[in-house]
């Protein structure tokens, strides 16, 4: 099978899984088996692409033109492959986790859930493979729309309100800022293709370039830069597997991935004359402000959501420094945060399923009842803070290196301060769980269903594994800045 065939096939695999999920409505086990098979096939497809992309090949597919001169096009480059690999790899444990969660909590509309879940992965792969801005935009909007039924899954007033905020902010930013930015790029540059070195150089004045940069950065609302971050906490009304895979991995990573991609392939590492200082400032502010909010949040999922906002700002900050090292760090942090945060959400969902608790203040002593869950939580917390022996340390290393390279002391200070803050909002949870005595009374409970525990231990193990075997993500991240 040629690389081009695989490129077309990869997004279709999860689409097939979605169709099967709908068709196999009456046979839940078969339905989930189909999803698992699709996840494995997707991973296989992506791994098959790996050697050639690392060797410098860029398998590309162009479909017939959609607008004159503008076609839907796929082109697999290192960053896209990295993002797709993360999404696909974490999809697999998410399926096991979801089936445990949905069945244990007696959720309705399970087929719709699995179908939309698979479609989200398909959209994420579409974003990852996008060969031009039009394709990116197409799948970006599709991702918003197919995740809406997941966010509003419960169908009550709270879910409706969350869903409205979700749509309003994501569609609002993409329509108000991203679409005009893309059309303006088309008018100025005459192309929307992603080209190493950028397409805007010598085409626009520095002022326009800076304006475009800000339109892109805020237009990609999925990157959750303040003040357009509120959709992410609002999306926490969704069932936890959705928060875990989509709002720690697929959706938010699609956001920062798009920002990195636009910076690297539209502006280029020599910035096309744009002034990146405003973006650095906004990212730095978001990083710190979201951490402070997380510090004060008592609802566990809300705390994790604001932690995500803050961690996404690391990626934007790193890429906005446009030093080669920090761009590598940004790419690595997409991977590092994904495996860490999905574990934390998995743990939060396990606590909800087993103990029906949602607040941090209720977690005293729970670690002794759910040792596997909270051991995993602890490991993932280390990764989130950026401590060895976890993959978070690796990405933070590169980001700090990049800040040095860019000679930006302010960014350096922000990264250090952010690290301290993240320790401040995560470690107390681990401390409570293991070292504080449990409150008297309360129903006896043990761990959550086995499928959930297996999934979250697996992702926690991945945070350590990626440090021991960092070759693939590191090579892909480096491929991004290599000319």
């Amino acid at each position: 099978m040629s690389a081009e065939t695989i490129v077309v096939l990869a997004p279709l695999v999860p689409v097939a899984a979605a169709v099967l999920a709908a068709l196999l409505h009456r046979w839940p086990n078969l339905r989930e088996a189909a999803s698992v098979a699709a996840a494995i096939m997707l991973i296989a497809c992506l791994v098959a692409l790996l050697p050639s992309v690392l060797a410098g090949a860029r398998p590309a597919v162009r479909f017939p033109e959609m607008l004159p001169g503008l076609a839907i096009a796929f082109e697999v480059e290192p960053l896209g492959l990295l993002f797709a690999l993360i999404a696909a790899t974490l999809w697999l444990p998410s399926i096991f986790y979801s089936l445990g969660y949905l069945r244990a909590n007696g959720e309705a509309h399970q087929s719709r859930f699995f179908a939309c879940f698979a479609l989200s992965i398909a959209s994420a792969v579409g974003i990852a493979f996008a060969g031009n801005l039009l394709t990116l935009f197409l799948f970006y909007e599709a991702l918003t729309l197919v995740t809406w039924p997941l966010v509003t899954h419960h169908g009550d007033e709270e879910a409706r309100r969350g869903g409205r905020t979700y749509l309003a902010l994501l569609l609002g930013t993409s329509t108000l800022f991203l679409l005009p930015a893309i059309v303006a790029t088309w008018v100025y540059a005459g192309t929307l293709d992603f080209v190493p070195g950028g397409i805007l150089r010598d085409r626009v004045s520095p002022g326009v370039a800076t304006l475009l940069l800000l339109l892109y950065a805020f237009g990609i609302g999925k990157a959750a830069l303040m003040p357009f971050h509120r959709w992410l906490p609002a999306a926490m009304v969704a069932p936890t597997p959705v928060s875990a895979l989509l709002h720690a991995v697929a959706v938010v990573k699609a956001g920062v991935f798009s920002v990195v991609k636009v910076v690297v392939y539209v502006f280029g590492l020599d910035a096309a004359g744009a002034d990146f200082t405003p973006l650095v400032t906004v990212a730095a502010f978001t990083l710190l402000a979201a951490s402070v909010v997380a510090l004060r949040a008592d609802n566990l999922k809300r705390r994790l959501a604001y932690s995500t906002v803050s961690q996404l700002a690391y990626v934007v900050l790193a890429v906005a420094l446009i030093a080669p090292l920090s761009v590598v760090g940004a790419a690595l942090h997409i991977a590092a945060h994904a495996v860490g945060k999905i574990t934390l959400f998995f743990a939060a969902g396990a606590v909800y399923t087993a103990a029906h608790k949602t607040r941090v203040s209720e977690l005293n002593g729970i670690g002794r009842r759910m040792p596997w869950t909270f051991a995993a939580f602890g490991v993932a917390s280390l990764s989130m803070i950026g401590l060895p022996p976890t993959v978070g340390a690796l990405s933070k290393w590169f980001i700090v290196g990049g800040a040095w390279q860019a000679d930006n002391v302010l960014a350096l200070a922000v990264v250090v301060l952010g690290t301290l803050l993240s320790a401040g909002y995560l470690l107390p949870i681990v401390h409570r769980a293991f070292l504080r005595p449990a409150a008297a009374g309360g129903a006896a409970h043990g761990e959550a269903p086995a499928t959930m525990v297996v999934a979250l231990v697996a992702t926690a193990a991945l945070t350590v594994t990626l440090v021991v075997f960092p070759d693939v993500p590191l090579a892909l991240a480096r491929g991004l800045v290599a000319r």
Partner: protein, 496 residues
């Protein structure tokens, strides 16, 4: 032999069918004739479009009287494009009409509906195809008079009021139009479009021309529901039978826009028409108000059909906006939106008709929990709604793209802001319905009487085709954007 006379047949066929239907009187026979004629008209339109694409514009002298003395039928890239839209809509709604009309129109009037529909189709196709200014007026009256009757066929008594309202406004519009061409005739002594355009180049006394331009703009503005001349439209769309609303929404206002475009670019010439009077800023200004204000009004409508009607006024604003931008990208957006909005709004009104057919109401409050009762309809509404919003991958996106590009090329970023803001309002009013359908359960909703007759199967087939078109035209853009670009090339070449 026949191929040579296709331009005449395009109009004559539905025109002859109307009295034939009155003579037949039987409902089934009437429907059969109307459907066959619609399909045949669509076939002719496609054949003409292919012929024009291959060999350039066709000029057909009616009764063999050569123009400018006789009436000329003229099929060029622009009119072929419109013929396909109008005839295609007819062919799409007629299979749907069988069950829908039987349910919505009193029994003894059913055959009259089909007769009036054929007249209306003939009138609209005639407006598009003729190359004679006065002939446009004649066909405009044929289509308008039949439209008044079609609207009045609505079951509620308020339909009569809506029809009367449209009658008054439509008559004023047509009168203004005649005054306008009267002035043109006074100056040039001709009524043939090509001939008038040639003679106008030598005219030095521009005052009567400006008056003509003003009368024609206002007259057609009434017919195409240009804000603030749109008052007739929401009532007419809300109270007419569903099939009529669909057909009118996709064709009638679009044809009036087409006539306006012809006047601006192929009769007066772009420079004179848009700069002689401050029409550029007038069109852009009014359109800008329309797309934002009417979307806001749509947001607060309690009834689905009324909401869609107000949305139509807003969407017509997009079309006239592109006209006011008057560059290649803006015009492409305008013309593409004629098709894109026609298809999209057509699909939505067909869905609304289906909902009325099954549930007996189109009030948004009664749509609660519809996703359970009519899952396919609810899903199709989401798809067509996305096209109305202009999400990438749907027909609506392509026209929005060109309008934004046109505004940027003109250096008017505030128009870009208005266009995108109004798509957000579209998100709001579409999602209000989607939320009602999907997220609010109606506790004791009775399952609809699923009368799965052959007629209702035809309804579903029509709806499915139109909804599918909203997506297909988002990816395969040769038939909306492609043809629009060809027509724009013709328009801009016509600039004197």
């Amino acid at each position: 032999m026949i191929a040579e006379h296709l331009p005449a047949l395009q109009v004559v066929l539905p025109l002859v069918a109307a009295p034939l239907i009155v003579l037949l009187r039987r409902d089934t026979a009437a429907w059969l004739v109307a459907t066959l004629v619609s399909v045949a008209a669509f076939g002719i339109a496609v054949a003409l479009a292919i012929a024009v694409a291959d060999a350039g514009a066709i000029s057909y002298a009616l009764g063999s009287w050569p123009p400018p003395w006789g009436i000329e039928y003229r099929v060029d890239a622009l009119s072929a494009f419109m013929l396909v839209l109008v005839a295609g809509t007819g062919a799409l709604v007629m299979p749907y009409a069988r069950a829908s009309i039987a349910a919505e129109v009193s029994g003894h009037q059913v055959y009259l509906f089909y007769a009036m529909y054929c007249l209306c189709l003939a009138g609209l196709l005639g407006i598009v195809i003729t190359g004679d200014l006065f002939n446009i007026f004649v066909f405009m009256e044929i289509s308008s008079l039949s439209t008044y009757v079609l609207i009045a066929l609505g079951r509620q008594r308020r339909a009569l009021l809506a029809a009367f309202q449209y009658l008054i406004v439509g008559t004023i519009g047509a009168t203004f139009y005649v005054i306008g061409i009267g002035l043109l005739y006074l100056v040039t002594g001709s009524l043939n479009i090509v001939d008038v355009a040639t003679r106008l180049q030598d005219v030095t006394e521009v005052r009567p021309l400006l008056a003509a331009l003003a009368f024609i703009t206002v007259g057609l503005g009434l017919k195409l529901a240009l804000f603030p001349l749109h008052q007739w439209l929401p009532n007419a769309y809300a109270h007419a039978p569903s099939v009529v609303t669909t057909f009118l929404a996709a064709t009638a206002t679009k044809v009036s826009v087409y006539v306006l475009i012809r006047f601006y670019f192929l009769v007066f010439g772009h420079a004179f028409a848009l700069d002689g009077l401050p029409l550029r800023s007038l069109l852009v200004g009014l359109s800008a108000v329309a797309i934002v204000a009417m979307s806001l009004v749509a947001l607060f409508q309690p009834d689905l059909k009324r909401m869609l009607a107000y949305s139509s006024v807003a969407q017509i604003g997009y079309i006239t906006l592109g006209l006011g931008l008057a560059n290649a990208a803006g015009l492409t957006g305008s013309l593409a939106h004629l098709v894109n909005h026609g298809v999209t709004k057509g699909a939505l009104f067909l869905l609304a008709g289906g909902i009325a057919f099954c549930c007996g109401s189109t009030s948004i409050a009664d749509l609660r929990g519809l996703s359970r009762r009519m899952p396919w309809t609810a899903f199709a509404f989401v798809v067509a709604g996305l096209s109305l919003i202009g999400v990438p991958g749907t027909a609506g996106f392509t026209s929005k793209w060109f309008l934004v590009e046109g505004a940027l090329e003109n250096g008017q970023p505030w128009i870009v802001a208005l266009i995108v803001a109004s798509s957000l309002l579209a998100v709001a009013y579409v999602w209000r319905v989607v939320e009602a359908m999907y997220l609010v359960a109606l506790p004791d909703a009775p399952a609809p009487a699923q009368a799965s007759t052959a007629a209702s199967m035809l309804m579903r087939a029509s709806t499915a085709v139109s909804v599918a078109l909203t997506v297909v035209l988002g990816f395969v853009t040769a038939y909306n954007v492609g043809y629009a670009r060809r027509a724009v090339a013709l328009l801009l070449e016509g600039i004197s």
